[in-house]
């Protein structure tokens, strides 16, 4: 097992998550959806790593593998815990996971379905505290009150049920639940996608404040490139179960090294009519993760594709350096291409 460098808190190595496709009367396995297919990356202490991609690219699956909501098919998830010990979360039995459930927490996308409508805010936010035997009775109430204050809700509301709150407020409750056990890593899975634009900013600011205050590390999963650009220190771009590019945010947005990133950036409509530009419109549909094409998965839609792209699968490799951070891309032609980014 490799050891983590001091600045790395979590390292995902060759992670695979394949879901079997079952069919027929006997539920035979006829194939696999390769939702996450051989993905490696590291999350650095105190940073926000953004994970972007289109629906079905596997970004949510990665988040759930790290949280061990799923049991990964293969690969390692190395994590350096509070006592500076290193464990492989992917190899742990579910019964041994409990201590890590305190240190790694998750914020969900849908502020409606992620809160049990039959429980009060006190019960929802207090549940992890009760489960881990941290607090009960009056002490539990005190701690929940503090958590609510911290996320900008009035503690008097803790006896209310979720249906008393708006979408933004519900998301704050979800954040309070995630913070209840003083976590070190928070996986935010599309945490602001279901919110109205005017409320989105409130939650983004809250997440930013909490990170500074509590020294949190975020894995921020989103399909919204503008949001990711705003919150992330580094960004990983996914396409059909693989990371195709990973770099420091400014570098990735200004000078992408993978044609898919370029197309993705160009596809985002910019809220400024003076910046209207020729969009790069990709042909066809996203590849089927149960039956991806040979070679580079992106080659059928890539305007720079060559013959070798159709046969050789490119590896994610360092193609540049910004400061002490490498710029990774999985493209045969990463160095020679001069791709268009977004400029302010």
């Amino acid at each position: 097992m490799q050891t983590l460098t001091p600045e790395v808190m979590l390292e995902v190595n060759n992670l695979k998550m394949h879901f079997p496709i079952r069919k027929g009367f006997r539920q035979r396995v006829v194939g696999h959806v390769k939702a996450v297919d051989d993905v490696s990356f590291a999350v650095r202490r105190g940073e926000t790593l953004g994970l972007v991609g289109e629906s079905g690219c596997g970004k949510t699956t990665i988040g759930r593998c790290i949280m061990r909501a799923y049991d990964p098919t293969a690969g390692a998830i190395l994590y350096c815990n509070a006592k500076n010990e290193q464990v492989d979360l992917a190899a742990l039995k579910s019964s041994d996971l409990k201590p890590y459930r305190r240190e790694l927490r998750m914020i969900f996308q849908d502020p409606y379905s992620s809160l049990n409508p039959r429980m009060t805010v006190l019960d929802i936010v207090g549940e992890p505290l009760k489960v881990h035997g941290v607090a009960r009775g009056a002490e539990l109430e005190d701690r929940v009150a503090n958590l609510l204050k911290r996320v900008g809700l009035r503690p008097e509301y803790m006896r209310r049920y979720p249906h008393a709150f708006s979408g933004g407020q519900r998301q704050r409750i979800g954040i309070a639940r995630a913070l209840a056990l003083d976590p070190r890593i928070v996986v935010a899975d599309e945490a602001v996608s279901a919110l109205d634009v005017s409320v989105q900013a409130q939650i983004l600011n809250l997440l930013e404040d909490l990170q500074a205050e509590l020294n949190l590390t975020y894995l921020f999963i989103s399909h919204d490139l503008s949001v990711v650009e705003y919150v992330a220190d580094r960004v990983a771009v996914m396409y059909v179960g693989k990371i195709v590019e990973l770099a420091e945010t400014t570098a990735l947005f200004a000078q992408p090294k993978h044609p898919y990133t370029e197309a993705l950036l160009s596809a985002v409509p910019k809220p400024d009519p003076t910046m209207r530009s020729k969009r790069i419109v990709l042909e066809g549909d996203v590849a089927d993760p149960a039956n991806p094409p040979r070679g580079c998965y992106f080659h059928p839609r890539c305007r720079y594709a060559e013959d070798r792209c159709k046969t050789e699968t490119p590896a994610l490799r360092a193609v540049g350096q910004v400061g002490n951070l490498s710029h990774f891309a999985a493209c045969h032609r990463a160095e020679e291409l001069n791709l268009r980014g977004v400029v302010s």
Binding site: M106, S113, R118, Y161, H163
Partner: protein, 366 residues
Amino acid sequence: MNTEKETPVYVAPQWKLVWWKFRKHKLALVSGIVILLIYLVALFVEILAPFLPDQTNSKYLYAPPQSLHFVDEQGNWGLYVYGYTSKIDPVALRRTFEIDSSVKIPVGLLVEGVPYKLFNLIPGNRHLLAPLDPDQPMYLLGADRLGRDVLSRLIVGTRVSMSIGLVGVLLSLVLGILLGGLSGYYGGNIDNLIQRVIEFLRSIPSIPLWMGLSAALPLDWDPLRVYFAITVILSLIGWTGLARVVRGRFLSLREEDFVMAARLDGASEMRIILGHMLPAFTSHIIAAITLAIPGMILSETALSFLGLGLREPVVSWGVLLQNAQDIRSIATAPWLLIPALAVVVSVLALNFLGDGLRDAADPYAR
């Protein structure tokens, strides 16, 4: 609305929201009260029935119903019924009865009569409404071919008919929750197998099967054993509906984010199922139970009616209707059909109640 006024809704737990939603259904509310009354009757049979159900009286075979009077011709208050005069029909050689308004039979409230043990425990001999002289006839709903009081038999039958529904449904519920829960929770092959069994049970006609199974019950079994055998037979087929409801709820709940959130909180499987999932479908199950009871009642009635279910001396609505099987006896004594009315009213009320409950079961639907 200001904050203070909103608070009741905001802090209302599930059962309160269900109740608020339920009470908007007036019909369901009334039905609920009717059902409550019927079960109260079933509970206090001994006090409510004027006579013993098997008390025969050869003097009053097929005596027609009398009506209860509160005031007599002279304007005096008092409870009484009129007596009968009988004459022999020379053609049919049968005794026919007419109400004789010259004979007044006084009746009273909480009259001493045949001794009984309430709930098999508390001894007593008071009957809510009975003739003061126990030898005088009082047939508010008429008499049957042995001169037994239909009203008393109807009241006694309530206990058996309403409880067979309840017991049968409880048995179905155990099977349904167990198998539906297994099916929904584990999925995969177990689910597949259970679904096949359910499909099979639903695709065969239930009555012939019930008939076959109950015909196979030994004739020398005592009534209690037959009663339980019949409930078991009914619930063997009846559990499928409940299992489907439970499975469906389990499947949809398993996908809910809040269940995953509880798992990520570190909660144990038991805590997740009991604390997070179960409360989400208790109200659905209660509604499903309410809707399943009428089926059981109807099935018992049908089987007993055919002579394959409960038999005399057990008294149930179906057993009572057996007397009304051929057109001749109905023509002679149409009041023998009154138990049918009890069946219809209780089934109707349970259906309305169940419908209302089902609509109110999920107050969080958006």
